[in-house]
């Protein structure tokens, strides 16, 4: 298993690590049993993601995919962010080893979970906007 230089860069120097006080939406996915948990914080203003931070417990790919996902949605509208797929995260990182694809799924889910939380806080039904958010990575047998 070999990581691309981009993955290693995002692992060694992760972007947007941390928390946002008074975040407008927080999403957490994954579990300790499987070995990865991602938590994403969003600051949303006028439908735009003004700031995003993350915390991740997991492998190098888990850290790198969370970091890349935050970069890809920062400054974007919620609608644009919701179009982000795990494939886009993988491409932006110049690929991931097959065993690590689930990390990118988790990054997409973390972002969606945070947006869903934003809608919930607004008193809206998140499913109408985000669809169903899985809090566990579907690719991971351990969660089933």
């Amino acid at each position: 298993m070999i990581y691309s230089e981009k993955v290693m860069d995002h692992f060694a120097n992760p972007r947007n690590v941390g928390e946002i006080e008074n975040a407008d939406g927080i999403g957490e996915v994954g579990n300790a049993k499987c070995g990865d948990i991602m938590k994403m914080y969003l600051k949303i203003n006028g439908g735009i993601i003004e700031d995003v931070k993350f915390k991740t417990f997991g492998c190098g790919a888990a850290v790198a995919t969370s970091s890349m996902a935050t970069e890809l949605i920062k400054g974007k509208s919620i609608e644009e962010a919701l179009k982000l797929t795990n494939k886009a995260v993988i491409e932006a990182l110049d690929g991931l080893p097959p065993a690590k694809i689930h990390c990118s799924v988790l990054a997409e889910e973390a972002m969606k979970a945070a947006i869903a939380d934003y809608y919930t806080r607004q008193g809206l039904d998140p499913e109408l906007y985000v669809g169903k958010v899985s809090h566990n990575c579907d690719a991971c047998e351990g969660c089933k």
Partner: protein
């Protein structure tokens, strides 16, 4: 502190020693003859193989004819276990006993045999990573043909009560095999004295090249042939002998076993400094018995962080180590060894194994003890799991 290069994964593999390499070199280009050839050039090679075999037999305390060269530890394990199974089957015995935390070369071989109709009992290990001889004794029945228990565990370094297990097997007339890949060179072993019937060893764990190992098989146990073909290895394992590697193995084994007591003293001091130093980090635990432990092995679980990211970050500081996390085991579950001693998945994912050698200096240890807390601190500061642990258990601070 300046970045260093500290290889702390000697349980994975070791560098070939200069002595082993020098001993092997003539047999590549000048003394390259086939040991089966009748002319002097071939006979020189045959002599080198014989003298290597004698040397190894002398070190292990057995007869020259009881040593078979293999491609490594996995092959030796496969041969001993499948061979003993076939011998058993011929006598109507189809039951094998092993432990839950063996190396995969043993476990997967046993699983294969289960599919072939054999019955396998996997005895548990206690929370310190030790097999209980009583469990073996209780598991033996009339149909048992083999007990195979590792000499020392490859992940947590625990040294098993081999002498006691061998005695039980002898009393019950059951063959006893041990995978001693991690123990050889770290623990004094005399197969006759200890009552071992078969023992696997590997070259690349003791500064010989990868691709060479040996199986000791007591005379009187007529293992079925492993590779059919020429007459090498008493007709049992055909294929032209790997003369340079065989010579290198004998030299490396000689060095590894020349003064084990002194080596144990030297290494265990360093090992203990590492253990005590890393355990100063809060929410850590030593995996495996502290006393009955290889002098080279440190295995510590660090809560709130995941093993692979720990290894990657240590690598950036020039420290090469290993872990039992799922991401490093290549499966979805963390190490079967750590689960076997009762660790929950969450804690098994955050394990760190450091395996030292005589090359590891006191300065290296200082550097590791300075670096590990920094790296743990950094990973914990970005871990939502650590955040939760701190909140739920009222812990303060990152380290």
């Amino acid at each position: 502190m300046e970045k260093r290069f500290i290889y702390c994964d000697n349980a994975a593999t070791t560098a070939v020693s200069k002595r082993a390499l020098d001993a092997a070199m003539p047999y590549f280009c000048s003394e390259f003859g086939n040991a089966s050839s009748i002319y002097m050039h071939g006979q020189n090679a045959a002599k080198a193989v014989l003298s290597a075999r004698e040397k190894i037999a002398g070190i292990l305390g057995c007869k020259t004819g009881e040593i078979y060269f293999t491609s490594g530890g996995s092959e030796a394990d496969n041969w001993a276990i499948k061979g003993a199974a076939l011998l058993g089957k011929a006598k109507g015995k189809n039951h094998i006993i092993t432990s839950v935390f063996e190396h995969h070369a043993v476990l997967h071989t046993c699983e294969f045999l289960e599919k072939q109709g054999f019955e396998v009992t996997y005895v548990p290990v206690d929370e310190n990573g030790l097999v209980r001889p009583k469990d073996i004794e209780d598991a033996i029945k009339d149909t048992t043909c083999l007990v195979t228990i590792m000499f020392a565990n490859n992940e947590i370094g625990t040294i098993q009560p081999i002498r006691e297990i061998a005695e039980i097997c002898k009393a019950r007339k059951v063959f006893f095999h041990t995978d001693a890949v991690q123990a050889v060179g770290n623990v004094e072993i005399n197969v006759k004295d200890m009552g071992i019937d078969m023992l696997s060893l590997s070259g690349h764990k003791i500064h010989a090249p990868k691709g060479i190992g040996a199986l000791y098989c007591r005379a009187g146990i007529s293992l079925p042939n492993l590779i059919h073909g020429g007459a090498q290895e008493k007709n049992k394992r055909a294929g032209t002998e790997n003369v340079p590697f065989i010579v290198a193995l004998s030299v490396a084994l000689e060095d590894a076993c020349s003064d084990i007591k002194a080596k144990q003293e030297r290494l265990s001091k360093k090992r203990d400094r590492l253990i005590d130093g890393i355990l100063k980090i809060q929410q850590t635990r030593l995996n495996g018995d502290r006393q009955k432990r290889l002098c080279s092995n440190v295995n510590i679980s660090i809560r709130g962080i995941e093993g692979e990211s720990l290894l990657l970050m240590l690598d950036m500081y020039g420290i090469l180590a290993s872990s039992g996390s799922a991401c490093t085991s290549g499966s979805l579950d963390p190490s079967h060894v750590l689960l076997a001693i009762g660790l929950p998945h969450e804690i098994a994912h955050g394990s760190l194994r450091l395996s030292i050698s005589d090359e590891t200096t006191d300065e290296d240890i200082d550097y590791i003890l300075e670096t590990v807390p920094k790296v743990v601190d950094r990973l914990r500061s970005m871990s939502p799991l650590w955040e939760r642990i701190c909140r739920e258990e009222g812990l303060v601070g990152t380290i």
